[in-house]
Assembly symmetry: C3
Homo-oligomer: 474 residues x 3
């Protein structure tokens, strides 16, 4: 009640100001609002964090988040490769609703490829509500000017725009994003600070951690939103001796380097948590840790634990990720939460817990998790979760009971009981006919509110060229 009254005053003041200074954006700063830090790793497997049982790569700092707050055992992302998963997370909506359902074709001169401008990103909403916002690391949501972080709600940016990057600064030989002629070159561009290419001297993961700590330092006095998207441990597998030395006991060279890369991220997480503690911000900062999709199987470096499949697949190994949140002020330490949740819930949860925030532009697919975590709400946040891989005609539906429908390559419909068969081995469709038919109905309803991909994907160069040619002819 008190807060609402305060907000009202602020609003009235703001309103009066808005009359005075026309055309200037109104910023309402509510200092009681929590800071938000999303730490997103890239291609890290379900089994590659200590809190999910990893034994060969210690992740004490990532584990601190889980211990300080809640660990989710059944947490999903909305796609099993990088870009669409990020698009879902940052909009709070299934990316299929706006056609961002492929890893985009790298076409530096095609201005159409990016996250639809009709969509609102979380930083945009928070910025309107007086948050300072920063993105660090990998973007992958559009390389053209109109899609860049500073056009989508971020006050600051430090990182790169493409789908991945090399880790050693001496390899950054391409002057800027616009000079990169192909995917491979985009991995070698100079990093960007805000809108300018800059020189960097540190191992990329260390650089991102450094920037994150510095950003917190600079924003102690105002609610902030930090989207820290490490490209680690995505390929290429590259690590410095500092981290490699920790894993001499791992024989396999790929796993060893991978472990070192995860360890570098973990160090960074430690620095961030320490900085929050030292600054007195820890209590009211929401820190969210997750991976953008499962570990790739073919690289043979990551580990999805007991899950079947990996990156790119709709088996659990592709979409179930390590996921933990700490927010000491609101979430009890050492919480375990077993209902199915999804990365789309991040937007909804943050939006629901920021006082005075505007209404999101579009209908959200996620839900506020807080009432479920503190016991106000019972049951499952989602009766159904949905996945679609448009090109392969693959679909998955997970029901709150833990039954998962999987349609692969337009052939069979399988039903797995994730509670008893986490490896997705046995089709139990015949025993659950009615629920399965209901899942099919719900899936079709859901799909009726999606659109096809809005652009071509990686390795669809030929289709793209064919379409361009057709356009010219007609």
């Amino acid at each position: 009640m008190k807060i609402s009254f305060k907000i009202l005053i602020v609003l009235l003041v703001a309103l009066s100001m808005s009359f005075k200074y026309k055309r200037q954006s109104v910023v309402i700063i509510n200092k009681a609002n929590p800071n938000v830090i999303i730490i997103l790793t890239d291609d890290q497997g379900y089994g590659d964090v200590g809190f999910n049982g990893c034994t060969d790569i210690p992740t004490p700092n990532i584990d601190r988040i889980a211990k300080n707050g809640v660990v989710f055992r059944n947490a999903y992302v909305s796609y099993s490769v990088c870009a669409p998963s990020r698009a879902g997370l940052i909009t709070g909506r299934y990316q299929d609703r706006f056609g961002y359902s492929r890893n985009p074709l790298y076409r530096p001169f095609d201005p159409e490829i990016g996250l639809s401008l009709n969509e609102q990103m979380l930083p945009d909403l928070l910025q309107q509500s007086g948050y300072n916002t920063m993105a660090i690391g990998k973007w992958h949501l559009g390389v053209h000017e109109q899609f860049r972080p500073w056009k989508r709600g971020f006050n600051e940016f430090f990182g790169f725009l493409g789908g991945g990057h090399r880790y050693f600064p001496e390899e950054y030989i391409i002057a800027n994003q616009d000079s990169a002629k192909n995917e491979e070159q985009s991995y070698r561009t100079k990093l960007i600070r805000n809108q300018t290419a800059v020189e960097e001297s540190e191992y990329i993961t260390d650089a991102f951690s450094r920037e994150a700590v510095s950003y917190i330092e600079r924003n102690k006095d105002q609610p902030f939103f930090l989207y820290l998207a490490y490209n680690a441990p995505h390929g290429p597998l590259q690590a410095t001796p500092k981290y490699l030395e920790r894993f001499t006991q791992i024989k396999d060279a790929k796993r060893r380097t991978y472990a070192a890369m995860v360890s570098a991220v973990d160090d960074g997480v430690g620095l961030i948590l320490d900085k929050l503690q030292q600054s007195g911000l820890a209590e009211n900062t929401i820190v969210i840790f997750l991976s953008d999709n499962g570990g790739p199987e073919n690289v043979n470096a990551s580990d999805n634990g007991p899950l079947r499949g990996g990156k790119g697949s709709l088996f659990e190994g592709g979409i179930r990720v390590p996921f933990a949140i700490q927010w000491p002020q609101q979430i009890k330490a050492n919480t375990e939460y077993d209902q199915s949740i999804i990365s789309l819930d991040i937007f909804a949860t943050v939006a629901a817990n920021v006082q005075g925030i505007a209404k999101p532009k579009n209908a959200l697919d996620g839900v506020d998790l807080l009432p479920f975590l503190n016991g106000t709400k019972k049951g499952s946040p989602h009766e159904f979760l949905f996945w679609r891989q448009f090109d392969q005609k693959n679909y998955a539906v997970i029901h709150q009971s833990g039954l998962k429908e999987l349609i692969l390559k337009d052939t069979n419909i399988n039903l797995y009981n994730l509670k008893t068969d986490i490896g997705e081995v046995v089709n139990v469709a015949e025993k659950n006919i009615q629920l399965l038919q209901r899942m099919e109905q719900e899936r079709k309803k859901w799909e009726a509110n999606t659109i096809p991909p809005a652009f071509y994907g990686l390795n669809q160069e030929e289709d793209y060229i064919k379409e361009q040619k057709l356009k010219k002819e007609n």
Copy 2:
């Protein structure tokens, strides 16, 4: 008895004439024989006619056929894309028996691609029995001279030879079929009247309807066979304001145009039924309405109702089609028939009900439906129906019980109970092991009497070139 005697006389007369005028083909005109009109639409979905529950596109005239006669709820075509389906229909035989089991590669200069000359088309048989015959619309059974309609039993032809066509006459800029260098150009050829390219001024669907009505008018006094193969509502999606205006309430632009195209066909069907009525021919004319395969899923315009999959698939959405027949003299109005039937039955049904007809050249796969419709025969016309997609190694078998075996992409064998699970969701193989094993045996027996495709298909240009090269080398 009376008729048989009459036929005898006619035969004797004919026989005597044949001695007189040698080398002249003997034509036996039995005026009691029914006229036959096949109205075939292109890519129209199972759910896109009023008699199958369509709500947004009224099809009152197509529905008249169903009301005047029999509607089939479980009617199939023998393939899920255009050309092979048409090949099955017009020969009354599984097209796999003669290698017409792909949509043909468009190779204007390769004279081998067409419906085998060893096969007999229904018009050829009817023509021999004194019918006048005409094909209107889409051909798609061979573009080279020896495969053209006038070589296969049709007295008259009006339409185009390829796999599809544009709808507005101002787009017919290619002088004739032989000038069309590729598939796309074949959509822009001038229409052909008999063997000559002609100018056309009407929307193509209206033109075909006009020709059909005119043909009936010209053939009141002699049994005729009219094969009216509308290319509507096959892509490209093109309609005139006259039809578009009827569907302003449909928001989706594609569905709106599609609806207009179906509505134009429906108007044409109305004109034909009216003309039959006015000419006193309705009683003894068999009018058959069906679509050549299911609606394509990717176009997002057609609707296969509750069926899974669409054009190109062996799920029901690809092969189960809207299907109705009227023949007031023999079939009671408002009949519903629920056993599985197939387009191959058309040839057999017509042949069985034409007095004095010759024996078909090859063994038919279809059966005469009339005894089943009027109750003379009980049970199901087909114990088993078969489908094969050679390139994908897909197969389907439907048993008279409504159980359907589906083998997709050389992987799993699924068994669906179409009576309880029309959406083909739940594999019930374990509960029906013996029947499934029998279906496998029957499938193999059936396949032993088929041959591989006799020519390359669309998008197999490379394979074609490779083979030509090999031939030259050896």
Copy 3:
């Protein structure tokens, strides 16, 4: 006991000799050791031998082996195409352990493609134990110098190095293997005797039989190992009138030629068995007959009997082969053996039954079958057998109970009961959940001890070129 003593003496003598003549390889000749002849046919179907019920192609001589010894009804090879299957057979180890799990890309100038030099072939082990060794026919285990038969343990070689060959000597127009620029040309090279290209005048199958008989004749007085790898009845389908005339009753031209090719092999087997008999060697010669994989389905010439699928598939038709062994001294005539065995057992069986043999270099996956055949050991030689197709992500596991897990194209996991459902029609996973989960565990354990393919396969030219380019850039 007596034998052991004899061996001791021989060993001591050998030891003393080894001190005398340093650097000279020590050869221990134990004349009591059995001769070994492996007769391997190429792409012959499970149903294409008399002892498996073939009716249209008499194979009286191949059947003699079965009658003289044991016929295996559930005998497998370790891969469903030629080269990997041979790699498994000749090393006694799953070829996945050393990356030979594709039919190799034909790259005459890439020296990396061949069977890993870390692996030991059976002839190498036998040669060390005083055997004379010869390979006749198709090699397919590496065309470059270091991979050739004379470098892998064979004293003599007569045949060709690639994956197949034409049958008529007038077609051998390429001077030698190194001149063959592509796969097709490698089918036309001159045959090689030891290391030299030679002229040949006979139909290839007859030539190989002739050489085999001659080799036996020349090696009556010393244990020998003969690896006779007929390329028949692999394509191209070519036979001489002598054999064709036997099958005028077969209408299908392909099947007729195929039958003639099998008949030529059968004649050769007869000559070999006769020669053994005449030479008094039959009693103590192990003669093993098998095919390298199932018959190809697309050629429509071979017959896999009741089995599903064919060459290239993990259905039974791809991996279950005709298999018989005679060894009169040790195996009772007319034995039938129904437990599952695998071609990998050949190495282990031979090695276990040669007195004084060295320890194989690497751990074997096969087991000595003799104790199972003579009843000393009960139960099944293998609790589990494993197959992997790396590129397709296909797997199969067969349990001693006859239950077979099949994972195809990364989609469904099916379980078949081979004892009641040899055609692999009905998935019985739901009834055997626990065993299936155990099979999955065992499969993963097994796979943890394999490596990815060590080279590119046929039709992976593009991948190969891409990799070479990347290597150059980095």
